[in-house]
């Protein structure tokens, strides 16, 4: 498969979406097979793209122009003054994203066949999932910022539709609304950023903008502002501080959706965007620092919130936010290699964790971890795959998470405060992961009804778990040059994705030992506090109730935003609505009418209703006009 046909990748699921949206009730099994088969084809094509890509990557310097650039003119106003091309662009970042998106999407779709069985709107679910996949594939293959924005909004819409899948539930409807509006605020920034870049560069083409920026075409301050606006979009989509509030609520959607959209793919769009535009960020280091510190704050804050969350999916959601923070830290440090690597491994183990939690919820209809426990006896497959995923998340050697987190720590090696914060956060990650696993699967069952009800999920759901567990176990090894060569690439991931020059993977023994120690220490703390009946943890809660309350209430961000909306936004709405009613309408318009009415009331004595009076008035007019005519002529 050549690079020109890469547009087929989004086109296939898009076509499936149209078919499912219109005709799904008419198809056998509501057309779920269509979505799954289509996705499988996409996976095959993505692999073909990867191999083709490696072909001409092997021949030395990678050349984005020529065969790779593919454009179809969509809009052209005044001979190129304002031109938007539907162009695709494939490079190493794209290839990684293509593989991640298509593989995870396929796994999730297979899993959903079991998970969503018997749901109303079953066909619509697969249609929406296809729509999402299409948008996401378009997003990662876009060679043009406008096309990227197009896809960016489309994934937002898909996310809205899927979070609100159970729209009869008030909470789901509210969550969908919150997600859409919050990301939309970020998108405002993204659009402004894109337009600002266009304003100076005169093009939407990403590579041309990068060239323009590297050639010093932008004013430094101007570019800083533009890139910060652009980053706003990434903050919204990737649920970074301060726009992180929507992601935990987004767990109202069906669990496979959470796995695909809110863990593995859509939320990393922000990371992808910054990685794609990193050469421009490199021109203005202030903007890159903003990326770094945003990521750092988010990573730490989300990890602490994950410590106390009680909903199995919310814990995972905070973990996602936190891990995304890690990726932004890596980008802020100028290492797309580490960020994309972490994105790659994270996608697999986080999807695994979500699907595993889905399996639990499917079996017990319960997602409060306080109500679970002891499930390992009932759901062995789920438990052990979940444990693999958790260890990978905690960063235990040799699972995938270890390698990528190590890379990020390595990138932060020279910046002590950042390094320390990251290390602490990594420890926290291990702690809350352990807590989650222990409370859910081990110890004594706390809710016997749920426990009795539990059973292992059908094979169609466990199969994806196994595949993802395997990937979560081995995905980290691509970092080795040997593995890379075995797969047909010239080297490891460091030679594939890089900012300025290929990176060689440094396995720093001391650093790795330290990281491992942190992870194991975190797991140890977790075991100590939550093993068995988790008495110690209950007691620990009493030490600092204010802190606990702060964490449980998510640093009061939701309350803050809610009151902002209630008092500021809606307040402004009320003020203007009252202004419009009282001042513009009643004073300006009705007031005008009333003034006329008042004069009418005062002057109505002139209207005697007697014709002779009117005739006299007419006569007066005639006489006056005659006088005027006589004396002016």
């Amino acid at each position: 498969m050549g690079m020109e046909q890469v547009v087929l990748l989004p086109a296939i699921p898009a076509a499936i979406f149209v078919v499912l949206a219109l005709f799904s009730p008419l198809l056998p099994r509501r057309g779920d097979w269509l979505a799954v088969v289509g996705m499988a084809v996409v996976v095959v094509l993505a692999l073909a793209v990867a191999f083709h890509f490696q072909d001409f990557f092997g021949h030395g310097e990678f050349d984005p122009s020529g065969e790779n650039a593919r454009a179809f003119e969509w809009l052209n106003l005044s001979n190129g003054l304002f031109q938007i091309d539907l162009s695709t662009y494939v490079d190493a970042i794209t290839v990684v994203m293509l593989l991640v998106v298509s593989i995870v999407a396929l796994m999730v779709m297979i899993y959903s066949v079991g998970y969503m069985r018997g749901e109303a709107r079953y066909g619509w679910y697969f249609g929406a999932l296809s729509f999402f996949t299409a948008s996401m594939l378009l997003l990662v293959t876009a060679g043009n910022l406008m096309v990227l924005y197009f896809a960016w909004e489309a994934v937002g819409l898909a996310s809205f539709l899927l979070i609100g899948f159970y729209w009869e539930r008030r909470s789901a409807a509210e969550a969908a609304k919150k997600a859409f509006i919050t990301t939309r605020i970020g998108d405002v920034g993204l659009l402004i950023g894109i337009i600002l870049l266009w304003r100076e560069a005169g093009t939407f083409d990403i590579q041309q903008i990068i060239e323009f920026a590297e050639g010093g075409g932008f004013d430094q301050r101007y570019l800083t502002v533009a890139m910060l606006f652009l980053f706003m979009g990434a903050v919204g989509k990737s649920a970074q501080f301060p726009l992180h509030v929507w992601l935990p609520d987004a767990m109202e959607g069906p669990t496979p959706v959470s796995a695909l959209i809110h863990a593995a793919t859509m939320v990393v769009a922000g990371v992808y965007l910054v990685a794609r535009m990193l050469p421009v960020f490199d021109v203005v280091l202030v903007a890159r620092d903003v990326v770094l510190y945003t990521g750092l704050i988010t990573a730490f804050m989300a990890a602490t919130m994950g410590l106390v969350a009680s909903d199995i999916k919310r814990v995972l959601a905070y973990s996602t936010v936190s891990q995304l923070g890690f990726m932004f830290v890596a980008l802020g440090l100028g290492s797309p290699t580490a960020a994309m690597f972490h994105l790659f491994t994270h996608a697999f183990f986080k999807a695994l964790l979500f699907l595993g939690s889905g399996s639990v919820i499917h079996a017990t209809h319960q997602q409060e971890i306080e109500q679970l426990g002891g499930l390992w006896r009932k759901q062995p497959l789920t438990t052990w795959t979940f444990v693999i995923g958790s260890l990978a998340l905690a960063g235990v050697i040799p699972l995938a998470g270890f390698w990528s987190k190590d890379e990020i720590l390595h990138a932060a090696n020279h910046n002590l405060p950042v390094f320390v914060t990251l290390a602490v956060t990594a420890g926290l990650t291990a702690i809350y992961t352990t807590r989650l696993v222990l409370l859910t699967f081990f110890g004594e069952p706390r809710n016997h009804h749920a426990y009795e009800h539990a059973h292992e999920s059908p094979p169609i759901m466990t199969l994806p778990l196994l595949v993802l567990a395997a990937l979560a176990a081995v995905a980290g090894f691509v970092i080795y040059e040997g593995v890379g060569q075995a797969l047909g690439f010239a080297g490891g991931i460091g030679q594939l994705i890089f900012a300025h020059e290929p990176e060689v993977f440094h396995f720093d023994r001391d650093l790795a030992t330290f990281a491992l120690a942190v992870s194991l220490g975190g797991i140890g703390i977790g075991l100590v506090y939550w093993w068995g009946t988790a008495e110690r943890a209950t007691r620990a809660r009493g030490w600092a109730p204010e802190l606990h309350a702060l964490l449980v209430n998510r640093y009061y961000f939701d309350d803050l935003y809610q009151s902002l909306i209630n008092y500021v936004v809606l307040g402004a709405g009320s003020v203007i609505a009252v202004f419009d009613k009282r001042v513009v309408n009643e004073t300006g318009v009705d007031g005008g009418a009333q003034t006329v009415g008042w004069f009418g009331l005062r002057l109505k004595f002139l209207q005697t209703g007697r014709i002779p009076n009117y005739a006299l008035a007419m006569a007066g007019g005639i006489v006056t006009l005659s006088l005027v005519a006589f004396y002016t002529s």
Partner: protein, 210 residues
């Protein structure tokens, strides 16, 4: 008020007043005109003009000033006859004829019918409204203005030539054929309209066609 003269009973104030007016105002006027004509101060057309002008103005004054409606209507007849004379003087016999026929005949008769049907002679006769002083002022100013304007302007007047019936007919029926037809339509519509307006409204339930 004049004391009632010892005259036959059927001769009432109308005749008394008319006779008085004729003897006090009209007679001296005619006498003066006659003397001027006889002495050659006035040519024949001028004599006729002044005679008619007197009739017109006198009639008009009577029409707008007299308090009794019948007197006013008679004033209108007089004025109309005067206007007809003026038309003759302006060499358009046809118009003079029409004026006499339509006004002296039709219009006045119609007005008198109207008078009879509204029984306007009954009761106290207060014919002038409250805005009479304003009306007087407006009339004076307008008259002054118009007369001033007429005298102010300079006309390159030609001689009067007689317009024969023949030429008038050709002009009226050939060049103004369509307006003529339209005018007839207007008359018809006015006729129907007058009937519709003036007819007694059928009481509810009464058959409309009767």
């Amino acid at each position: 008020m004049l004391r009632r003269l010892p005259l036959p009973a059927q001769i009432d104030r109308t005749i008394t007043l008319g006779g008085l007016l004729a003897s006090v105002v009209a007679a001296p006027y005619i006498v003066v005109l006659g003397v001027l004509f006889a002495t050659g101060e006035l040519s024949a057309p001028e004599f006729v003009f002044w005679l008619n002008a007197g009739l017109v103005v006198g009639g008009a004054l009577a029409a707008v000033l007299l308090r009794h409606i019948v007197h006013a209507a008679l004033g209108l007849v007089g004025a109309s006859l005067g206007v007809a004379g003026i038309f003759l003087l302006l060499a358009s016999e046809f118009l003079a004829l029409v004026q006499v026929l339509v006004y002296g005949g039709g219009v006045t008769i119609l007005l008198l019918f109207g008078l009879m049907m509204t029984r306007a002679t009954d009761g106290p006769i207060v014919t002038d409204g409250a805005q009479k002083p304003f009306a007087f002022g407006a009339g004076i100013v307008l008259a002054g203005l118009f007369v001033g304007a007429m005298l102010d302007a300079e006309w390159d007047a030609l001689n009067v030539t007689v317009v024969g019936f023949r030429e008038l007919g050709i002009r009226l029926y050939r060049d103004f054929g369509i307006p003529f037809e339209v005018a007839s339509l207007v008359l018809l519509v006015a006729l129907i309209g007058a009937i519709t307006i003036a007819r007694r409204e059928p009481a509810p339930g009464e058959d409309d066609s009767k």
